[in-house]
């Protein structure tokens, strides 16, 4: 195994996370900042800054781990586009890891609870929320005033300050704080196993899509022209 470090990127929540890890999945340094819904201005500059401070050239990196959501549109687009640019430019592998599963894992570590006793809730638009459990597909919970969100299990509320119980919000904060670590471990394991993602097909999982819109886009819905073998 090479000793080339990994870069970790997650932009699914309003707190952007970047980190450096060893190829074995040991967290070297993480940086988090309040990105709100404007991840685009800072992400690449922050990555460049982290590498520069550590005396690491981009060309020294051995792989990229990127959180794929679910989360807000803007952040995920920025994170995935940046991860793809890095992977293509550096010709190194990328693995996409579900942010939701990693937040649950981090919350389990922080609270000592079993991950299957936890339920992650995130905002979806102004009033709806999205609910994720380990091993299950995320689902939308329509907006309401129900304090316990009518969900069976211990809540991990991310990006829902003031819209969820305080203990759920606190566990959510702990999950965000442990996100980089969880991504490091899971990402390094997949990279070491050669279980990498197809750079073209890696796309984010959004919390919600407009009604009637499919999550998987058909490839034949896009026509590529101007390349080899077609008229310019």
């Amino acid at each position: 195994m090479t000793a080339r470090p990994l870069i970790i990127i997650d932009t699914a929540t309003t707190h952007a996370v970047i980190a450096l890890a060893t190829a074995e999945g040991m967290l070297v340094e993480q940086r988090r900042w309040e990105a709100g819904y404007r991840h685009g201005e800072e992400l690449l500059a922050r990555i460049a800054g982290l590498l520069a401070d550590r005396g690491i050239a981009a060309q020294d990196l051995g792989g990229i781990v990127v959180g794929t959501g679910p989360g807000a549109f803007t952040g995920l687009r920025v994170g995935l586009a940046t991860a793809k640019g890095l992977a293509h430019g550096l010709q190194i592998p990328v693995v996409g890891i579900a942010t939701g599963a990693m937040l649950l894992r981090a919350a389990a570590t922080a609270s000592g609870a079993n991950v299957h006793q936890l339920v992650l809730v995130q905002p979806a638009g102004l009033s709806d929320r999205v609910v994720s459990r380990g091993g299950e597909a995320s689902r939308i919970l329509p907006g309401g005033t129900d304090a316990d969100l009518g969900v069976d299990g211990r809540l991990v509320a991310v990006d829902l300050a003031g819209r969820a119980p305080d203990d759920a919000t606190a566990l959510g904060d702990a999950a965000v704080a442990g996100l980089a670590d969880a991504l490091c471990v899971a990402g390094a394991a997949r990279l070491a196993a050669g279980d990498t993602d197809d750079l073209a097909r890696l796309v984010p999982e959004y919390v919600t899509l407009p009604r009637g819109v499919l999550m998987a886009l058909p490839d034949d819905g896009v026509v590529v022209s101007g390349g080899r073998g077609s008229a310019p």
Partner: protein, 363 residues
């Protein structure tokens, strides 16, 4: 100098402002080495228009294959590239974000300058492009009038030099392309409406349908919402005359009627656009007119405006249809001028969905 290779900087240019992922390699702002476009038209056909979230995700899906195909087509690697140009506005926020962040990262990794380009000036600068193997020809002469007409934009600018734009007027409501889409739907034609209406109009044997023109006297402004409303009324009347209900989903007008109505609508748009453009060109003593944007692919508009310009000795430049719709090469053409002017973007470049067309200032 016909046939001689040009030898200016080679730009990698990335366009993702709407529903086309375009990546091109352009030399010296003119010569296309590759111009690959992933078009999402079929993806948005069922919804009859662009769904922004779907568009952004398709950009993420296609941007790497399009880049690989562009580099392979041009036969170059990133080491051969002198700069990365990217559209940073105007356009759909989510779509722009994909191209901007991908371009920033590619430029940073390879140590290339990043050049921010306004999508609208890209449509103007498509007039400078030369296809691979195409003979050298004169650049569009200044001063010139540029008319950009697309699904999202319709406006006239005066240019006395490179990157120097004086806005003369534009639509105060809908873009011309939107009107084509709307009327295409009313006539039971497919999406997008522009090419469908053009094809239907070509089949017209009678040319008696007169649709209103909004002249907006004393200005170079344009308006198409009244035309849309009139079209709805005229088409409803034609349906009633044919014994059909007003709902365009309940039975189609006879093909001859569709053709005649399409011709009448197209003639109104073409008449207004041409008249305003020629008037502007005469007012500023233009030596050239450049036409750009997706609606500039319309054959009737191309023929009409070319004829009028030629009659006045004004050089007319209209890119081939594939360069009128969104593509990366046009961003490379504008990007080269911006690069020559010393314009660069930093790692903090962000998408600007409402970016206006104005003379750029080097920071």
């Amino acid at each position: 100098m016909s046939g001689l290779p040009v030898s200016g900087p080679l730009l990698l240019a990335i366009e993702s402002s709407c529903d086309e992922t375009g990546i091109a390699l352009v030399e010296d702002g003119r010569r296309i080495h590759a111009n690959v476009v992933a078009s999402q038209i079929a993806l948005h056909g069922p919804t009859g228009g662009i769904v922004p979230e779907v568009a952004a995700r398709a950009h993420l899906r296609w941007i790497v294959p399009v880049l690989d195909e562009a580099l392979a087509t041009a036969g170059v690697t990133m080491a051969d590239v002198d700069g990365v140009a990217v559209t940073y506005g105007p356009g759909l926020a989510g779509s722009l974000l994909v191209g901007v962040n991908f371009a920033k990262t590619i430029a940073w990794v390879h140590g290339k300058p990043l050049i921010p380009v306004n999508h609208l000036e890209g449509h103007v600068y498509a007039g400078w492009l030369l296809d691979p193997g195409e003979a050298e020809r004169e650049e569009p002469p200044f001063p010139l009038i540029a008319l950009v007409v697309s699904g999202g934009h319709t406006f006239l600018v005066e240019m006395r030099d490179h990157l120097d734009y004086r806005y003369l007027g534009g639509t105060i409501d809908d873009a011309a392309g939107e009107a084509f889409d709307k009327v295409g739907r009313l006539l039971g034609l497919g999406y997008p409406g522009g090419p469908e209406i053009s094809r239907a109009a070509d089949r017209a044997t009678a040319h008696n349908r007169v649709f209103p023109r909004a002249w907006m006297p004393g200005t170079y402004d344009l308006s198409f919402s009244g035309l849309k409303t009139a079209a709805r009324r005229i088409i409803a009347q034609a349906r009633a005359d044919a014994g059909l209900s007003a709902d365009e989903r309940e039975g189609d007008l006879p093909d001859a009627a569709v053709a005649e109505l399409a011709w009448g609508f197209q003639d109104s748009v073409t008449d207004v656009l041409t008249t305003k453009t020629i008037r502007a060109a005469e007012a500023i003593g233009a030596r050239g007119i450049v036409l750009g944007g997706g609606v500039a692919a319309n054959g009737a508009l191309r023929r009409r405006i070319s004829g009028e310009a030629e009659a006045r000795g004004i050089a007319m430049v209209i890119p081939r249809p594939g360069l009128c719709t969104d593509n990366g090469a046009m961003i490379g053409a504008a990007g080269a001028r911006r690069m020559a002017a010393g314009l660069r973007a930093g790692l903090d470049l962000d998408a600007r969905p409402s970016l206006p067309l104005a003379r750029p200032v080097a920071k």
